[in-house]
């Protein structure tokens, strides 16, 4: 990886990156401008829908403590994964993400690559995916970025770690 986005970088490219997101009721089109402009957003990336750590710990943690993040001024919690939007929706429904966590599908890894969070998991049968990370983004500017040492780990990017950074 040549670089990963760092504090004070912008995550809104001049040409918006189009993605789709499941908001708990339906799948909607969303681009980077819409996701980040004028909002305080916690974005976290996961290697794959339906994979163990992502399913059993990472996403559930954010669902559970969504209200705590909201009370600290966070407008949107967005989970990004390199999966198609049908898979993301099915996974979101299984995890009961509801309106609390926006489940964003980045199927070609365009957004993930734009922030330098892509990782080649082809050897593990997953292809190019997102590594595990969490970021606090304010009106498109990165305030905090916490990237796990390896995609399988869950420590710096957990909801508790994010809450600790915000308090």
């Amino acid at each position: 990886r040549f670089f990963s986005v760092a504090a004070n970088a912008s995550v809104i490219p001049s040409t918006p990156i189009k993605m789709k997101a499941f908001n708990g009721s339906e799948t909607e089109d969303i681009n980077t401008s819409q996701l980040f402009t004028d909002k305080k957003v916690v974005v976290f990336g996961v290697p794959g829908a339906f994979t163990p750590v992502c399913s059993n710990q990472h996403v559930p943690g954010f669902i559970e403590k969504a209200h705590s993040l909201a009370s600290l001024g966070i407008d949107t919690i967005a989970c990004v994964s390199v999966n198609d939007h049908f898979v993301m929706k099915a996974w979101a429904e299984k995890l009961n993400t509801g309106p609390q966590v926006l489940m964003v599908s980045d199927p070609t890894a365009e957004f993930t690559k734009s922030i330098g969070m892509d990782v080649d998991l082809t050897a593990g049968g997953l292809g190019v995916r997102s590594t595990r990370y969490a970021m606090v983004v304010d009106n498109g500017t990165v305030k905090q970025v916490m990237k796990e040492d390896s995609p399988g780990a869950l420590d710096a990017s957990s909801v508790d770690a994010v809450l600790a950074k915000l308090k």
Partner: protein
């Protein structure tokens, strides 16, 4: 093995030996070779563009679950569902339909089987990558006996289970 050089790719046809490709069941650790599944057995294999996508979920997969007993009554040993998805997604999709032991949900994550059979469907615009066309097959001891390919890749016609069932 099927020659997959770009100039020589030919769509698989009846009478061909089914290519030996490694697929994955349940997780990346669940590698299984098609040759192992097919040797000495009568196997129904159907492939589709994507786990959890509408046509695949509403029609294609359910048909094979429903017709399981009838396939078994006709001497089919194994029913296999293949898609270009990762093995976690395939397993989860199968579980959501409670396929249990009826259908082996196998992942072709790098599209190797789709390439070997020359049935790649470019769905980058919709799903983000290349997938497999929809098709169904009857394979006996590794030899393709019946092959029903949806020409447009995604149609729900000749590759449905009732069609293959009546041909056996």
């Amino acid at each position: 093995t099927v020659d997959t050089h770009a100039n020589n790719i030919m769509v698989v046809k009846v009478g061909d030996k089914f290519p030996d490709v490694t697929l994955f069941e349940g997780s990346p650790a669940g590698a299984v070779k098609t040759s192992e599944i097919l040797a000495g057995k009568k196997v129904v294999l159907f492939a589709l563009p994507g786990a959890f996508t509408p046509g695949c979920s509403k029609t294609h997969l359910p048909g094979y679950i429903e017709d399981y007993d009838q396939f078994k009554a006709k001497g089919v040993d194994t029913i296999v569902c293949v898609s270009v998805n990762d093995p976690f997604v395939m397993a989860a999709w199968g579980e959501s339909f409670k396929v249990g032991d009826k259908i082996r949900m196998l992942a072709d994550p790098r599209g190797e089987l789709a390439e070997a059979l020359d049935v790649v469907l470019d769905l980058t615009a919709v799903l983000g990558n290349k997938r497999s066309k929809r098709y169904s097959m009857l394979i006996e001891d590794g030899c393709v006996k019946h092959f029903n390919l949806e020409e447009d890749g995604g149609g729900l016609t000749c590759s449905l289970s009732n069609n293959l069932l009546s041909a056996i």
